[in-house]
Symmetry: C2
Amino acid sequence: MERLDIDLGARSYPILIGPGLLGDAALLSQSIRARDLMLVSNVTVAPLWGPRLRAGLAGLRLAECILPDGEAHKTLATASRVLDALVEARLNRDCAVLALGGGVVGDIAGFAAACYQRGVDFVQLPTTLLAQVDSSVGGKTGVDHPGGKNLIGAFHQPVAVIADTDTLGTLPDRELAAGIAEVIKYGLVGDGDFLSWIESNLDRLLARDPGALVHAIRRSCECKAAIVSRDELEQGERALLNLGHTFGHAIETGAGYGHWLHGEAVAAGMAMAAEMSRRLGWLGAADVARVRELLGRAGLPVDPPRFGRERMLGLMRMDKKVKAGRIRLVLLERLGRAICTADYPDEALEQMLDDLVGGADA
Amino acid sequence: MERLDIDLGARSYPILIGPGLLGDAALLSQSIRARDLMLVSNVTVAPLWGPRLRAGLAGLRLAECILPDGEAHKTLATASRVLDALVEARLNRDCAVLALGGGVVGDIAGFAAACYQRGVDFVQLPTTLLAQVDSSVGGKTGVDHPGGKNLIGAFHQPVAVIADTDTLGTLPDRELAAGIAEVIKYGLVGDGDFLSWIESNLDRLLARDPGALVHAIRRSCECKAAIVSRDELEQGERALLNLGHTFGHAIETGAGYGHWLHGEAVAAGMAMAAEMSRRLGWLGAADVARVRELLGRAGLPVDPPRFGRERMLGLMRMDKKVKAGRIRLVLLERLGRAICTADYPDEALEQMLDDLVGGADA
């Protein structure tokens, strides 16, 4: 088992990575202080991994709330169902909410935990690669609004992240690829060596080689932990982890939640960010080709839907990084180094959107 | 104008108290950094004080969300309406939510501000005595659940509390009395001298003497500011401000939200806490009589509804102070000194409930 620690003072917590963790009663008992638990999962994951977890939690008081599967259900109404279940089970402030599933389950359950009695303990038990490398770490929780992704939410750190890598064995190929998109993001944002490692080991990742997966998870979490420890509430540097997300969230919202997986939209968004960076003179054409090739090899989309420029801009304006009406973009100064900037010519963005998603009249 | 400061490091903020503040453009501009605003109010308060505030905010971008009036509407569904309005107005993370109204408006608007884009600025503009002395200060926000009061919420501090005391002129008598209940609470919890002052000046408060009201507001906010500064997230001492609230919330929930005003339920709850304290040998019969007389003189109820003991206990068990299944009570060691304790004989509580709300079979 690998262990990493997120250093946030009184809100510090461990990330535990390895096989068999969901059934490890001693580990679970050590990581979860509460004795009254609410398990939140979905109809796909609960039958697969619920039995192992229930065995690991034998002896504790365990209520359950099983949600429908998919981003289309990441709504305030679904979070409200979790809150109803907490009240119905008569759980008090000393309970813990456990999220068993991917990013959607973690985001909803974490938001419910943040709101219930103004905040109860929360444990992430991520079962997708995307959740294990990214969404379960860092305390961002929330739900979507028809007007935009993750517009309703809270910063609420988990008390532990327990990533049982056995769960990746039951993950559909498309979900695995979506997780690899976020792994590639960590290489692009801040670690050129890791990017090279991913390029050399992509086939092992796609073949679900346990050693390669554990390394990718650990290195991604290390990158995220370092940034989150320095900027928990996204006042600055943390925004870099949003590489590809301004474009990606617009794609997800515009296409209707659930049609694009989050990681797929981020992949196309990263390709757009690379192209924009090229147009600003920071990346060369070969860099952009390298990004697109890596994403393509992973089976990820690199081109956005043809929404048309104005619709795309409208969707992007609901981004949480917008300040004083101006869209801030996370771009690449070079491969392995991202910046967040509002200092770009409007025409460059408009021209790129004309070329990639269609012009004003598309 | 009086000014007090809540000292919470990066989350510090001023409380401004005085007449005419809602129309003071310079003061508002200084206190509210955002330029894009969402005014949240209700159908009763908006027509009375909206015009003064709008004049004070002339030149800023101001969207509005006007809610129905009353505790029965303090629900997740109503908070969701505020969130919809924020998205519809296309407000970004650099906006501010303004709450113009009493405790219900402040709690809902504050919760929406806490959740929108994971937290935007929030300004309290309390227009009831209860909100000016208590609910607008300290960052507790939230909504009710059919299963219990304030079960869904967040700690989210305002950037400013601006209490225009002119608004107390349009307050119904019953609402004024409900606010006085919380003023009396501050005397009982931590300041025997203030309690004596209230006894001597109750008639002036009931006659809405501006000087007496400003003193009562300032002194109450001082008490609260001191405690909140030491215990923002209610890990300990802050629970003392819940005197009368464990019984009071049970009364509000059991009677159906909106039938008892919050301050009325707290008044009856404080009388119950005093009686319980007498049964534990801490207060004398004369102390209890003194509490009941003061509350009664203010026009407040001192007896709970006859719910029956078991129903009352069931309602009390959803209290946020419950720990390891045990109801913790805020009681009085003497008038002017409260403690929060789980160390009482169950029989004493049960016997008191038998006497005051009816026995197990009531």
